[in-house]
């Protein structure tokens, strides 16, 4: 058994290393001068520079992309919360004969290939005159955020103990105040996970943003991918710095999301 366990531990350690090392390496490259990146033998020791990072932060296109990403994702998530949470609560707590169909409809939106949605929307936004604007992107992303938040919030609301809500009814609370004052606060932790997940999903979205923007409404992933298309003339350090900037916001949610995973599976156990 001994050597087996040792091998198993080694495999796990290797997997853990592979999970983060590429990212760490990218972050290191963001701090390197070009001569330290373009080497046959990878360099671990080098004189760090902040030039790449300050170049990225100083570029108008990157800052516009960052602004567009924050506004488009922020507002789409807000719309998702306002429309998705109440709908999820209604499905979870007021079962009717359509509940199963509604859940399947919401899930099936995820089956739609993004190209199939993006092409017609591009034509539609062009005709209305909203192509390449943030409102068009926000409305399109709302479809994603509403459905994802709804899908994840239904089980979150179902796991709120029914007794608490019943007690509130006895105390004379109306249906709406039970939702506001009882269900929302009790389910808050799981709901935060669902909301964070929907944010990460739209922040990372690429294809739809690529098709719906040409200059004004480009989001950060699009700007980052364009940096690379200027060929190898662009110093690699700058590209690495833009990858780091793009990756930071989703990683901020690491704690919330892993906590969310834990609560989801702890419920299953009971």
């Amino acid at each position: 058994m001994r050597p087996g366990r040792l091998i198993a531990k080694a495999i796990l350690a290797l997997a853990g290393f592979l999970a983060v090392f590429p990212l760490v390496w990218t972050a290191l490259n963001a701090l390197k001068n070009n001569v330290d990146i373009i080497t046959r033998v990878p360099r671990l020791v080098f004189t760090p520079t902040l030039a790449n990072i300050s170049y990225i932060i100083g570029r108008d296109s990157v800052m516009t992309g960052l602004y567009n990403s924050v506004v488009a994702c922020g507002l789409a998530v807000l719309i998702g919360v306002v429309l998705g949470l109440p709908a999820a609560y209604a499905v979870a707590r007021y079962p009717n004969r359509f509940a199963g169909d509604i859940q399947f409809f919401v899930l099936s939106l995820r089956f739609l290939p993004p190209v199939a949605v993006a092409i017609p929307l591009m034509v539609i936004w062009l005709q209305i005159g909203l192509y390449d604007t943030l409102p068009a992107l926000i409305v399109t992303y709302s479809l994603l955020t509403i459905s994802v938040i709804m899908w994840l919030a239904i089980p979150a609301f179902q796991s709120v103990p029914k007794e608490i809500e019943e007690a509130a009814f006895v105390d004379g609370y109306g249906a709406y105040s039970v939702f506001w004052r009882i269900a929302l606060p009790v389910a808050a932790r799981s709901l935060a996970g669902a909301i964070a997940f929907s944010f990460v999903l739209v922040w990372n979205e690429f294809l739809i943003a690529l098709m719906l923007s040409s200059s004004n409404a480009k989001t950060l992933p699009i700007v980052a991918s364009e940096l690379s298309q200027q060929g190898m003339n662009v110093p690699w350090g700058i590209l690495n710095a833009s990858v780091v900037l793009l990756s930071l916001p989703p990683l901020l949610f690491l704690g919330v999301l892993s906590g969310f995973l834990n609560t989801v599976f702890r419920q299953k156990k009971t």
């Binding site: 009717n96 290939p113 190209v115 199939a116 092409i119 017609p120 922040w203 690429f206 991918s225 995973l261």
Partner: protein, 288 residues
């Protein structure tokens, strides 16, 4: 106890109405466009009905894209599940609770990255001369060059490895959590019967988890359809058409090469029909 209330109506109807409009308008419009001959460069158009679809079946590049997409689906789904189950079981067997928590955090990181970021990270890593992933090969062979992204035989697998890096590690965490929810008695019983560790998992724990594992595979099949970002950044469908999936080909027909929006839309409509039918059938079977 619960009184009759209008809450379900006020909470559900606006949201569902908006979802219906937002999803049905583009879906139906995609079909309309597919039956016309719109191009980005010219404003006028006429109805050509099914000729776009007829052209598709004579288009060898389209047939290639179908094949590449199928290969992509199979490779990524199978590899993800193998990695997830393998690492999940290993964590369950040999990692202490503290170590498990650390691994879980580490393994979630890749999937949180924007796919564009993940694609860049690995595109650099696979660089034949300066990449960190090709360095061991250069070291061992004394400077020979390997370029996985520009060889037709390896490009698809190189891109798929990034997808598995993101999803396989993440699913390993879920497999571990699923194993932790199992009751300990059957495992104890098997151990008393002198079953080996791998036998316990092959014959006891994994069969007990069959339903959630199938759901997990279902999720991965849906997410594998979203390969565009990775392929767009890493290979642009190349070398040649070796990694050109359907969405990549639709995009390049519609936007890069010729601006044939209707032709691209016809392709998208076929994809949509295929995926909706397949996944609806699968979902009903998973639920049953």
């Amino acid at each position: 106890m619960r009184r009759r209330s209008f809450l379900p109506v006020t909470f559900l109807v606006p949201t569902l109405a908006i979802l219906l409009v937002l999803s049905m308008v583009p879906t139906l419009y995609a079909i309309v466009i597919a039956l016309q001959n719109r191009e980005l460069s010219t404003p006028g158009y006429s109805w050509v009905w099914f000729s776009n679809f007829a052209d598709l079946f004579l288009d060898r590049r389209f047939l290639n894209a179908v094949w590449v997409s199928v290969k992509w689906e199979i490779v990524t789904v199978v590899a993800t599940m193998v990695v997830a189950i393998g690492l999940g079981v290993l964590m369950f067997e040999v990692a202490s609770p503290r170590l498990r928590n650390i691994y879980c955090l580490l393994f979630i990181i890749p999937v949180l990255l924007p796919r564009v970021s993940a694609a860049f990270v690995w595109k650099f890593a696979y660089h034949p001369l300066y990449g960190i992933a090709t360095y061991p090969y250069r070291l061992v062979t004394g400077g020979l060059i390997v370029d996985p992204l520009s060889k037709a035989s390896t490009a698809l697998f190189a891109v798929a490895s990034v997808d598995v890096w993101q999803w396989g590690l993440f699913f390993a965490v879920i497999v571990l959590k699923l194993l932790e929810t199992l009751p300990p008695q059957p495992i104890e019983a098997a151990r008393l019967d002198h079953a080996r560790r791998w036998q316990i998992h092959a014959y006891v724990t994994l069969p007990m988890l069959k339903a959630p594992l199938i759901s997990l595979m279902f999720v991965k099949m849906i997410e594998s359809l979203r390969s565009f970002d990775l392929i767009y950044v890493m290979t642009r469908g190349g070398p040649g058409v070796a990694t050109e999936t359907l969405d990549m080909y639709a995009f390049s027909q519609g936007f890069i090469e010729s601006g044939k929006v209707s032709y691209a839309s016809a392709m998208a409509v076929l994809m949509m029909i295929a995926t909706v039918i397949t996944f609806t059938m699968l979902w009903k079977r998973v639920q049953a």
